[in-house]
Subunit: 229 residues, 2 copies
Amino acid sequence: MGDTKCSCEKCQLKSLFFSNIEASQMTNICDIKIEKQFQKGDVIINEGDPIREFLYMKEGLVKLSKSDPEGKDQIISFSKPFDFVSLLSVFSSRNYKYSVTAIENTTVCILDLEVVKNYANTNAMFAMDLMSHISEATDKILLENLTIKRKHLKGRVAFVLLYFSDSVYNKDEFELPISRREIAEFIGMTTENVIRTLSEFRKDKIIKIFGKDILIADKKRLKNISDFG
Amino acid sequence: MGDTKCSCEKCQLKSLFFSNIEASQMTNICDIKIEKQFQKGDVIINEGDPIREFLYMKEGLVKLSKSDPEGKDQIISFSKPFDFVSLLSVFSSRNYKYSVTAIENTTVCILDLEVVKNYANTNAMFAMDLMSHISEATDKILLENLTIKRKHLKGRVAFVLLYFSDSVYNKDEFELPISRREIAEFIGMTTENVIRTLSEFRKDKIIKIFGKDILIADKKRLKNISDFG
DNA sequence: AAGATGTTATGATAATTATCAGTGTATAAT
DNA sequence: ATTATACACTGATAATTATCATAACATCTT
């Protein structure tokens, strides 16, 4: 977990995040911005922590989760670069309502929240930009949840595999960044049934499994299961 | 469905919505604001419609829903007064991704979206205020969905009854504003099972049922079922 | 008044999913 | 090296939920 000051001029997020900030003001923000690296498995944000910083992802993959009253985790969503990780509840609550954990080595850009808030308070265009990103991010999560909700076990597992293949790695072969249990926590089914379903897909020659490595052999059929299962 | 121009000075939403708008500018907004009344059952927003207006609820109750690929509805959430109905996707999309339907006679305040956007673009405090309301509203929906997701049939039905009793009507006896089928669409179970569960609660003397009228006779037990079922 | 439609209701049965029990295997801890 | 500990896997059985069939009742239409 290392800290380095990044050069905002080269940052690919600059155009996204700072499109409404003038160069003079930009330097200001840049001075207080730090990059932080997290290893796979590191907890970036702990549910309940006071919200003091504003985070966004530069590289890697994280999971958003919440632990239920019995202590079991529910995974809400996954975030890729350019997703605004800390946007959920940043502007509506004093404490985080979700945890954020790196499921791949992850680089996060960190700004002091007060500075961002002050900035938003004085620069309306910036605030508007932020707002549409918040809106988009939460909208996506809501839609995703609805999609999963109407599927059965097999459709849900197929959906997750296609999610990682199409939306994260853009490859038909990839290493699953999460355990079977975490898939279960995401889709709201039991670990055993996730494992069983993956085995079934393997027996039906829809996928090949080598531990965490997944190869999607019959994407059409997997897509079909996701759509109608 | 009638249109009347409201007097913003008396509007109870003024403090919430316009707390950052000066009186001189306020008049401006007020001039273009109209109130619209909807009858129970009226569709206020249709999924797919272009977003031209900014809505917020003054009175009544609405449901947010989305129809799945097979044409069946999924209910996402219910909105009461002060909830910002049109906030979902207003600032992130050109078209509504959800439908909004009155489930009780409802009064909605309507502003032209461009005016609100322009206003947000020039008044940062206003934009920030809007942002925290968006954040809060979607956060609430996400949390609600997680809560429902981890419950079984009986827990989900109990949760819905308690929701209407505690969060909407603040009474132990109330008229259900939605059908059994709509409860099913909300909690992601079948209509038959919702009906069966209500009958069970009745047989167990937890509730009394007179058609749409529900009386919660044993709230403690219902709460228990909601929490642990 | 008669027919069409939608809601509430119940029962029997089928399908889906969870739970429990047990195995092996890899990885971490001491 | 050896005990923990977590993960992946499979089978048998139980619990939960969906589906199908049927009926009573209300509402709306004509």
